[in-house]
């Protein structure tokens, strides 16, 4: 296992007791991967056993619907030997240390991002459970005057089988809390003894959700709290030229009208935490604030660039057709390979910008009082967010009390802290608790958008139809360079993936990235970069197979070749890509889907697979096309995510990921015209409903003892190409531009 629990760091588990409870906490340091700085991982967790036997497990991993509030506690409960159904779970604030007054910007390896929470928690969380169990056993041994080795545990009890004695954990908690934790890591259960890991568990918050409990940030309030909505510049990069507040101020309940400073020209959004200048209307209640905003009369000064998406994309096409770009991988001799090829092929694919549109729009509560800043909100990367917010509020980062709440969807959106920063600015300006709420119109127009891009891909084939050369050119804007001070030569990292199959197997490979500026703010959108690239590459392979008269599955298996490990140089997904595991998911999905069996006219079947975040996913999609539209009749998936912690969670993420990718591919696109985003709400930003959803999904999980890897994102990338390949099989129409929308109309 290349993960996380490092014996040299043992002793970081802390044991404390209070009010008769035993508490074993695991600071973030323990979760750092070997060789990484301790501050590089900020997931914290704890287990508490109260006198009445109640077990509570807290995790600081942001819960956005990906299920970590269930799956991470499962790891602790496994080693603790308790009935998981009785375990309570809760979100806890991210632990952090302050270094020279700042939390330094971190990699995307902590919080909720990069599909890594479960696998990074796998060893330390189990160790925390084992330590708690160990102390309870020692306490029982002392009480009974027996050798701890004679004792066993089961369902929250310590048992002495020889003397037929038993004690509940709750009775032992107080004594256990006074014992010294072991110096060395404890042995963990062998896989064969797992009773919780690997068995389907339902989501811990499910009952609270179906009864409408106040779990979300939007549901929270503070005494004396003001409500704010912000009128933001409709022009990207624009500023208010003049503001007539008269009518707004006349509305009873409007308390203040205050500026929100936008980013200075050329300044990273990460400095001030917002992407747009605005005017905030602060009122006693939310509806009044909304009416106040309606009543504002603002003249906006457009930004320096008033771009239009179609013009920008035309520039992108020119770049990838005529420019060299930044060559990020150049192995073998690509030019020679293409010159000597028996056949070359080339295709262009255009991927659109998209908004996140989390069902819960951005919101946050902040209260600055006595030099301390209290924040109630949700963020996917709390350490980075806290650092920015501290700057905005003018407090030391150590003086922030952050109360995380469950998020109504994340998908990358809640990496970015605009609502929290606006709330921090407004509590600073008013001295009162302020809740900032974004309406859907705010959300769609001011999202940190998923990058759109111009993808040009070329293959050189030898006389046997093997891949001799591969070229990939992408023009896009880096999704993180708006926020983080990334050196220009490192901005390609989330945009192109030189080690993706089949490029990784090509003896001659050149991958280039072309910087295509835009004033539209950008950010990470679930399976960032992979979603676009997998669509292009896996669609293009389908094109090649058809051009060569070969079966698309057979071509992929042939190109994957013999089972072997290949170096995959990307932190989220590597360190290796295993061609055998990639082939296995393709074969399994194909077999279960009846690949190759005939379908009636108007129907089609497509296959695609992708490797992302360490997980291998293949989908076979079946569609029916009629009257210029399509339905997805069936999706058969095969998944190898290594050792599975919660099989139910894997199936949920697969079903959800498939429909998320399908919804985006069907109809989602953000465009800019004359400097303004053209879409504003669900009437012009299309979200899929149940009538077009894939609801017949079969998820097949490959049994594996390999390191557990992520599931939040990997199901998405192969869905889009499997869908488009199925549409091609049904109609002969190749989708080279997303969204699909009206392209199937004859």
């Amino acid at each position: 296992m290349d993960a996380t629990f490092s014996p040299s760091r043992r002793g970081f588990l802390k044991v404390t007791g209070a009010a008769g409870a035993l508490m074993v906490s695991c600071p973030s340091d323990l979760l750092a991967a070997p060789g990484r700085a301790a501050r590089d991982a900020k997931i914290g967790l704890y287990v508490r056993i109260d006198r009445d036997g109640q077990v509570t497990i807290g995790t600081a991993t942001t819960e956005l619907g990906q299920g970590t509030l269930t799956s991470i506690p499962m790891l602790i409960a496994e080693e603790l030997d308790v009935d998981f159904a009785k375990v309570r779970t809760e979100l806890i604030p991210t632990p952090f240390t302050v270094d020279k007054g700042r939390i330094r910007p971190l990699s995307f390896h902590s919080g909720a991002g990069g599909s890594n929470a479960v696998w990074r928690s796998y060893d330390p969380a189990r160790q925390a459970g084992a330590v708690a169990r160990h102390l309870l056993v020692l306490a029982a041994a002392e009480r009974w005057g027996v050798d701890p080795a004679e004792l066993t545990t089961r369902d929250g009890m310590v048992l002495h089988p020889g003397k037929r004695r038993r004690a509940d954990y709750g009775d032992l908690a107080e004594a256990a809390a006074k014992l010294t934790p072991p110096k060395d890591p404890l042995p963990l259960k062998p896989r064969s003894e797992h009773k919780i890991i690997g068995r389907p568990q339902t989501q811990k918050d499910a009952r609270a959700i179906v009864t409408g409990q106040p779990l979300f940030g939007l549901d929270r309030s503070l005494p004396g709290m003001l409500h704010a909505v912000v009128a933001r510049s409709p022009f990207l990069g624009g500023t208010p030229r003049s503001v007539d507040e008269t009518a707004a101020r006349a509305i009873p309940g409007v308390v203040a009208i205050l500026p929100i400073a936008g980013p200075k020209p050329g300044e990273l959004y990460g400095v001030g935490g917002v992407t747009a200048a605005g005017v905030a209307v602060v009122a006693d209640d939310l509806w009044t604030a909304m009416r106040g905003r309606e009543a504002l009369k603002i003249e906006w000064e457009p930004g320096p660039v008033r771009e239009t998406t179609s013009d920008r994309m035309a520039k992108g096409w020119e770049m990838v057709r005529t420019g060299q770009g930044q060559v990020v991988r150049d192995t073998g001799n690509v030019d020679q390979a293409f010159a000597a090829a028996a056949r070359t092929m080339e295709a262009e694919y255009e991927f659109p910008m998209a908004a996140h549109a989390t069902m819960e729009p951005p919101n946050a509560i902040a209260h600055l009082e006595g030099g301390r800043l209290r924040i109630i909100g949700c963020n996917q990367l709390p350490p980075i967010m806290l650092d920015i917010v501290a700057r905005v509020a003018g407090v030391e980062v150590g003086n922030i009390d952050y109360e995380p709440v469950r998020a109504g969807g994340g998908f990358g959106r809640r990496i970015f802290p605009e609502a929290i920063c606006e709330a921090a600015s407004l509590t600073k300006q008013t001295g009162r608790p302020v809740k900032v709420v974004w309406t859907r119109e705010d959300d769609i127009a001011h999202d940190p958008f998923r990058p759109g891009g111009c993808h040009r891909v070329r293959a050189a084939l030898d006389k046997d139809g093997k891949l001799a050369g591969w070229r990939y050119d992408l023009a896009s804007k880096s999704q993180l360079s708006d926020w983080l001070p990334l050196p220009p030569d490192q901005q390609w990292g989330f945009e192109v993936f030189p080690d993706d199959f089949p490029g990784i197997t090509a003896p001659n490979l050149r991958v280039a990235w072309h910087r295509l500026p835009t004033t539209a703010p950008h950010g990470a959108w679930r399976a960032p970069g992979y979603l676009a690239n997998a669509w292009v590459v896996q669609s293009f392979m389908d094109e090649i197979a058809h051009a060569l008269g070969r079966d698309p599955l057979e071509l992929r298996l042939d190109w994957l070749g013999e089972a072997r490990e290949m170096k995959y140089q990307n932190r989220e997904s590597g360190p290796v890509f295993h061609t055998g595991r990639a082939a296995a998911v393709l074969k399994l999905a194909a077999e279960k889907a009846g690949w190759g069996t005939p379908l009636p006219a108007g129907r089609g079947r497509g296959i695609a697979s992708h490797f992302a975040f360490g997980t291998y996913v293949a989908h076979v999609v079946e569609v029916t096309v009629a009257d210029g539209d399509f339905t997805v009749d069936r999706v058969v998936s095969a998944i190898d995510c290594g050792l599975v912690v919660n099989p139910n969670g894997v199936v949920m993420q697969n079903e959800g990921g498939i429909n998320d990718a399908l919804s985006a591919a069907r109809g989602q696109e953000i465009t800019v015209r004359d400097g303004k985003v053209e879409q504003s709400n669900f009437h012009d930003y299309e979200m899929m409903r149940i009538d077009r959803a894939a609801t017949r999904i079969e998820t097949h999980i490959v049994p594996s003892e390999a390191t557990p890897r992520g599931m939040g994102e990997p199901p998405l990338p192969p869905l889009t190409p499997a869908l488009c390949n199925a549409l091609f099989a049904a109609t002969g129409k190749r989708i080279r531009r997303l969204p699909i929308r009206g392209q199937l109309t004859a």
Binding site: A206, R207, T211, F216, H227, M359, G409, F411, M652, F682
Partner: protein, 154 residues
Amino acid sequence: MSFTVNVNGRRRRVDAAGETPLLWVLREELGLTGSKFGCGIGSCGACTVHVDGAAVRACTVPLESVGSARVTTIEGLARGERLHPVQQAWLDEDVAQCGYCQAGMIMAVTDLLARNPDPTDTDIDQALTNICRCGTYPRIRKAIHRAARLVKEA
């Protein structure tokens, strides 16, 4: 303006402008935050509540139009600890991911089953127009069929 509304079997007094959407009255004035804000234009259905038993999108219903009608929110659906069959089916199928849209889904489905106790997949497709960005639709469909069985057995 002062209004009296009948919410979850209780008469509640509200001081608010007549055009205030029912959603904000429920959430901000009455503290019933189970009904969610998703779009404000009656499109996504996250705010779905019942008015005299029929599903409506509370973000587009002005307070002054409610009158003496019975309003039921997600908080008023269960009978004490005993969940409504639709809520129970949601648990049995473990539908929710982020969970934000599910209160509105459940309220919409409760109304659907009251009108059509045994809906076909096509009926569901036509009747249920709420949005779930997490894509829990496969389990929503299963949970609706399960809830239909639970209602029949009850």
